[in-house]
């Protein structure tokens, strides 16, 4: 499992050398972060093929925009921002993003009802695939903020910047995302 680079200076060196035209330095960045980007896109899209294609696209964008990266800030949030936005754009092109208002109007969206404590049940029963499947049922924006917050451990500020959305909206999306997961979980357990 790839972990973010601990040696920040090395990371900055790779970025600086890439900007000087050193392809090998960029290859180090790709080796370091391609797994992270691939998995983030895979979780957002639940499609290995799309993750493969978009990961390549993301790194091309990173290469082209590396000169705009603020080297005083951490690299990972900037990288995930490009990965998230590239995936969201791909979803938009496929018309997979439906406005929440439209969902509410059509009756497909309901706030989850209070339910008994299911935390033990969740931990006991949910497999990787099951959770991804449930998350796939959520609106892409909820899915993205849940992943950025809990999987990638970005701060609210960083998520807000990544999604170009106010922090309070991010908080609301996180809450609604978890409620939606709960609702989905309840529905699946009732069905089984």
């Amino acid at each position: 499992m790839t972990t973010p680079l601990k040696d920040k200076n090395k990371e900055i060196d790779w970025i600086i050398n890439t900007l000087k035209g050193d392809h090998k330095a960029f290859q180090y960045l790709v080796e370091q972060y391609s797994r992270l980007v691939y998995n983030h896109i895979y979780r957002m899209s639940n499609s290995p093929d799309l993750a493969d294609e978009l990961t390549q696209e993301v790194f091309v964008k990173i290469y082209q925009k590396l000169n705009t990266f603020d080297q005083t800030k951490p690299f990972k949030p900037w990288l995930l921002r490009i990965a998230s936005n590239t995936t969201l754009s791909a979803f938009r092109k496929q018309n997979k993003i439906v406005s929440l208002d439209a969902l509410k109007e059509s009756g497909q969206w309901k706030e989850s009802d209070p339910s008994p404590d299911t935390s033990d049940l969740i931990e006991a029963q949910l497999s990787n695939e099951a959770l991804l499947k449930m998350m796939n049922a959520l609106d892409i924006r909820y899915r993205t903020v849940l992943l950025l917050r809990y999987k990638e451990e970005l701060s609210y500020d960083e998520i807000s910047e990544t999604m170009n959305t106010p922090i309070n909206t991010i908080r609301t999306w996180l809450k609604r995302g978890k409620d939606a997961l709960q609702k989905e979980f309840t529905k699946q357990n009732k069905g089984s």
Binding site: V30, Y42, F59, E123
Partner: protein, 175 residues
């Protein structure tokens, strides 16, 4: 609902949220295709070659060369315009724009160079002109019958040939 129930609900809610957060955090990675890095780098290299700045073309090349003579001609015409209008001033009987010093003609006479300064001004004084036209009018009117319009000569039955000495138009202009 009691305060105790409220607290329990909040606690339950918090627990549920934490449980979801922990579940998401525990999501495992899947392995990307082994050749992913290689394919990314191939695309990067292709992109980098595509975007390599091309050698700058010389400023005057290709089709632009054809415009150089045209542009030069336009510039020359623009530069000549003040002289052209200055020349046209002559048609308006305006004074030439040559300075009086230049007008002093230098001539060669018998081995010595002498500078002649015109004693009179190149301009004809208004009173001289008035006198000239007054005399001309008097000469003309002396040849014409009193109060007879000029057209009467032209319409007269007396035959004359254009350009002959008795041509009234000839006498009118004085030659």
């Amino acid at each position: 609902m009691t305060i105790h129930d409220d607290e329990n609900d909040k606690k339950n809610e918090k627990n549920k949220e934490n449980a979801w957060a922990q579940s998401i955090a525990k999501l495992e990675d899947i392995d990307p295709p082994s050749d992913l890095t290689q394919r990314i780098m191939s695309r990067i290299k292709a992109k980098a070659t595509e975007e390599t700045p091309k050698a700058k073309e010389p400023l005057f090349s290709g089709g632009f060369k054809a415009f150089i003579p045209i542009a030069a001609s336009v510039v020359l015409i623009i530069m000549a315009l003040p002289f052209l209008f200055d020349g046209l001033d002559g048609f308006n009987n305006k004074a030439p724009s040559v300075s009086p010093e230049v007008q002093n003609q230098t001539t060669y006479s018998g081995g010595t160079v002498a500078t002649q300064t015109p004693e009179t001004s190149p301009y004809v004084a208004q009173d001289e002109l008035d006198t000239f036209f007054k005399t001309w009018d008097e000469e003309l009117s002396a040849d014409e019958p009193d109060n007879e319009p000029l057209i009467a000569y032209i319409d007269s039955d007396e035959p004359f040939l254009y350009g002959e000495s008795d041509d009234p138009l000839r006498s009118l202009v004085g030659f």
